[in-house]
């Protein structure tokens, strides 16, 4: 009995005695609690997965996919069609581009911010700053996009009006939203503005778990502020950073929907159309091409999973715990 209630780390010695039935008997109340979330996942996540079949069938949403004939080319018609479709290739390219930029610029931002916050001496000021930084997270992209229009539009935007008046040249405008390159900058910048503050929470939590003794010891050894950050704080944050980075890489082909949809306009569709927008337009927004869009979604998920595993594998190779 005592062996079970105080399980040791060695698994082999106990395996013959404790199978799943024993656990079920002993902890059935806990399993019962688990039943509801599991039912949720089965009903809303796993059963719908059967409809992945649509990606390999003729386009028909009215009949269940198992009664619909297979698509051409051994069922791969839609995958082939997608990869021949200029719009899809463009969306794929844009998705990767925007996500990589988001990763490069947006991922370090909360880390830097957390480090800075951590160094603030006045507790009250720190709290206040934190709260201010969190706030944009609670605004939806729809609200932010209309704020962006009022602030950044070429002619009627507040910033350009000020800029024109200061430069004295009525034609001098910064095309934040109308020039594709500037738009990408605006898109990434607004993303950082909105989410970086919120992203600091998890790092600040990780920071509290770093033992103060380490800082004291470093200080005794003559390490200044930056040395302490470099040799104590950052290594302490490393596991958190790695886990978040892995999860982030899983989304490399995933794309947000409301953000590009709300911020985009007709002038920048060459850089703003990402896969989610493509799927929306071709699928539910009038296109009615459900097989094609399921195929694209499936492709997106498979690549996402590959990236997730790949990143996890690499993390483990570099001596981190990874997530799996």
């Amino acid at each position: 009995m005592s062996q079970v209630t105080q399980p040791s780390l060695s698994r082999e010695t106990h395996r013959p005695k404790t199978n799943w039935k024993t656990y079920l008997k002993r902890y059935w109340t806990l399993y019962l609690l688990l039943a509801l979330p599991i039912a949720f996942f089965v009903v809303f996540r796993y059963i719908p997965m059967a409809y992945i079949l649509m990606a390999f069938k003729k386009n028909n949403i009215i009949q269940p996919p198992w009664f619909v004939p297979w698509a051409k080319n051994n069922g791969f018609e839609w995958f082939i069609k997608a990869f021949k479709d200029k719009l899809f290739l463009r969306s794929l390219e844009n998705t990767i581009k925007l996500n990589l930029l988001d990763l490069v610029c947006g991922f370090p931002a909360p880390i830097l911010m957390a480090l800075v916050l951590n160094e603030l001496a006045f507790k009250r000021f720190k709290r206040f700053t934190q709260t201010v930084l969190y706030l944009p997270h609670f605004l939806s992209w729809i609200i932010i996009s209309s704020l962006a229009l009022r602030l950044l539009a070429d002619n009627d935007g507040l910033i350009n009006i000020l800029y024109k008046q200061m430069s004295g040249n009525n034609d001098a405008v910064i095309p934040f939203l109308s020039n594709p390159d500037w738009w990408v900058g605006t898109y990434i910048g607004l993303g950082i503005w909105k989410e970086a503050g919120w992203g600091t929470i998890i790092y600040l939590a990780a920071l509290t778990s770093i033992s103060p003794e380490l800082y004291e010891a470093a200080a005794v050894d003559g390490a200044g502020r930056f040395r302490r950050i470099w040799h104590v704080t950052l290594p302490g944050l490393r596991p958190t950073i790695v886990v978040l980075l892995i999860m982030r890489l899983g989304y490399i082909l995933g794309s947000e929907f409301d953000r590009p949809l709300a911020l985009s306009n007709k002038l920048v569709t060459d850089v703003s159309t990402v896969i989610s927008i493509y799927v929306y337009q071709k699928g539910i927004n009038g296109g009615g091409q459900f097989s094609l869009t399921t195929a694209v979604g499936l492709f997106q998920s498979v690549v996402g999973v590959l990236f997730l595993f790949g990143a996890n594998f690499l993390a483990k190779r570099f001596g981190e715990r990874g997530i799996m």
């Binding site: 059963i47 009215i62 200029k86 306009n265 007709k266 002038l267 009038g286 091409q289």
Partner: protein, 536 residues
């Protein structure tokens, strides 16, 4: 594991198999009325935040149908501005109302291919005798408009467009008066007006001079510059070519369209066009607000656009904000190569009515269409209650009154077309003509009448060819129109020297993603039907 998977799959299959549509016989229909109360659901567009299903108009229909045919009508309300998308989703979910209407035939075709739409041909034949009003309003032409000559299938009925005026050019007459200029009658004169607006911003707008917009447009460039576009199309273009190049209802792929866009591009670069037009999506009110505030000199839009919505119309707001003499008037100044003020008008068709395959009350649904098409019903729905919605003039004309939008008697759509499913446009029998200009209270009837006359002047109705369905058009409509808007916006806002490159690349891309396939198939099918050989 395998067993569990099999079980899960089997269960999922059973769940989706649950509902199958049953064919209802009409043996309960005796002496023109059902013996037992039948129930149908009918799609109804909603605009803004009024509640159309609780209005007196909805009551009129519900009571009328119950009394006349013993059919209970339930309205399924959905937004007007996303209607094709919504209809697609309703059909996909198999929860579409029994009677649907939409402007998008390609959506209907898409779901017809999947077995989601009822073929109306046999029912129309069987029940023709019970549908006199429907046939007299639509005419054989509209009823069989979409009938496939090869398969004989009829997926939708084309409803009646009574008034096919389409687009007008509007200009601020009070500004021209102030500048001592006459109403423009040619493109060159129109351009001179825009330049004068730009150069006299201080005089016209005072301290708001920097808000001056000589010519306004929106991201829907094709529609909003249609008169301009069409004025560059050769007058002798054949009906066949119009059809082959005419999948795009903005006429942006006709010969000459590029030159029209080049002119617009030139205006844009000269500061004559609203700088920010491309940044605002469809449905955004910024442009309307500019029009209402009086910052805009000219624009092209629906032929009665500034006069719509009574007290909240652009015209009424303009008078409140600027002064009594401020007014947008319709002008004809875009002549084509033959010197004609050409406009392509809508044909006789408007929205398309279809029954989803989940409809098991086909006779009751057809009777609804007949009821809604009867002149009495249309008159009642369009004119509402005397004293509230309208007054009568001495000559019998219906003078519509402005009704507050919070009032249940408010008509959210012009002529209540959201309710009069089969009829778009004022249809008051002998009083139609005399009543037309009074439909826009508080706008001056003379101004409205002028807009109508201008919009019809030089009108050409593109011919309709009865051809098999064009496969290349299925499900691609919204993709192509998005692509068109996108490249036109880029081309118009490009620097003058880059216009050609941007425009040509856009057309090439549009053709590559489906535009060319449609043109080729249309050319092929029209050649098979009429012998017309299309030369590019």
């Amino acid at each position: 594991m395998k067993r569990i998977l099999a079980l899960v799959l089997a269960l999922a299959m059973l769940a989706t198999l649950g509902i199958t549509s049953a064919f209802a016989a009409d043996d309960g229909f005796v002496d023109g009325k059902f013996t037992e109360t039948r129930h149908i659901t009918v799609r109804l567009f909603q605009r803004g935040d009024n509640v159309p299903e609780t209005s007196p108009f909805a009551d009129y229909i519900r009571n009328g149908m119950l009394e006349k045919y013993n059919v209970e009508v339930e309205f399924a309300v959905g937004g007007r501005w996303t209607e094709p998308e919504d209809l697609g989703n309703l059909l996909a979910a198999q929860s579409a109302p029994d009677i649907c209407y939409t402007y998008s035939y390609s959506t209907i075709l898409n779901y017809a291919d999947m077995g989601g739409i009822i073929d109306l041909a046999p029912y129309i034949e069987e029940y023709k005798g019970l549908l006199p009003n429907l046939f007299s309003l639509l005419g054989e032409e509209n009823v069989y408009w979409d009938k496939d000559p090869e398969t004989g299938k009829l997926w939708a009925l084309e409803t009646r467009l009574v008034n096919n005026a389409r687009i007008n050019t509007f200009i601020r007459k009070d500004w021209l008066d102030k500048l001592g200029m006459a109403l423009p009658t040619t493109k060159a004169e129109f351009e001179a007006c825009l330049i004068a607006f730009r150069d006299n911003a201080e005089l016209l707008l005072g301290e708001d001079a920097n808000k001056m917009v000589p010519y306004s447009t929106s991201q829907d460039i094709g529609w909003r510059n249609n008169i301009l576009t069409v004025s560059f199309v050769p007058d002798d273009i054949t009906d066949e070519e119009l059809y082959i190049r005419g999948f795009d209802d903005r006429q942006q792929f006709l010969p000459g369209a590029k030159e029209a866009m080049r002119l617009l591009n030139k205006w844009y670069n000269e500061g004559l066009v609203w700088k920010d037009f491309a940044l605002y999506g469809s449905g955004d009110t910024t442009e309307d607000d500019n029009l209402k505030a009086g910052f805009v000199g000219a624009f092209q839009h629906n032929y009665d656009y500034p006069y719509r919505n009574g007290d909240d119309s652009i015209s009424a707001n303009l008078k409140r904000n600027v002064g009594e003499d401020a007014e947008f008037v319709a002008v004809d100044c875009f002549e084509n190569d033959a010197g004609v003020y050409r406009k392509y008008l809508g044909s006789t068709v408007d929205r398309k009515v279809c029954f989803p395959s989940t409809n098991d009350e086909i006779l009751a649904s057809l009777l609804y269409l007949d009821f809604i098409s009867s002149p009495d019903t249309i008159l009642a729905l369009q004119t509402g209650t005397e004293g509230i919605n309208h007054e009568r003039a001495e000559n019998g004309a219906y003078i519509m009154k402005a009704v507050d939008s919070a009032d249940p008697n408010y008509q959210a759509s012009l002529n209540n077309i959201d309710f009069t499913m089969t009829c778009n446009g004022q249809y008051l029998g002998e009083y139609t003509e005399v009543s037309f200009a009074y439909g826009y209270s508080p706008v001056d009837p003379a101004v409205v009448q002028n807009a109508y006359v201008v919009a019809m002047n030089g009108g050409r109705v593109p011919a309709h060819f009865i051809l098999p369905a064009i496969e290349a058009e299925v499900g691609i409509g919204t993709t192509l129109s998005d692509e068109r808007d996108s490249f036109l916006n880029k081309a118009v806002t490009a620097p003058v020297e880059e216009f050609d490159a941007v425009y040509d690349a856009g057309v090439e891309n549009y053709m590559a993603i489906g535009g060319q396939a449609i043109m080729d198939e249309r050319a092929e099918k029209i050649q098979a039907a009429t012998g017309y050989v299309f030369e590019k």
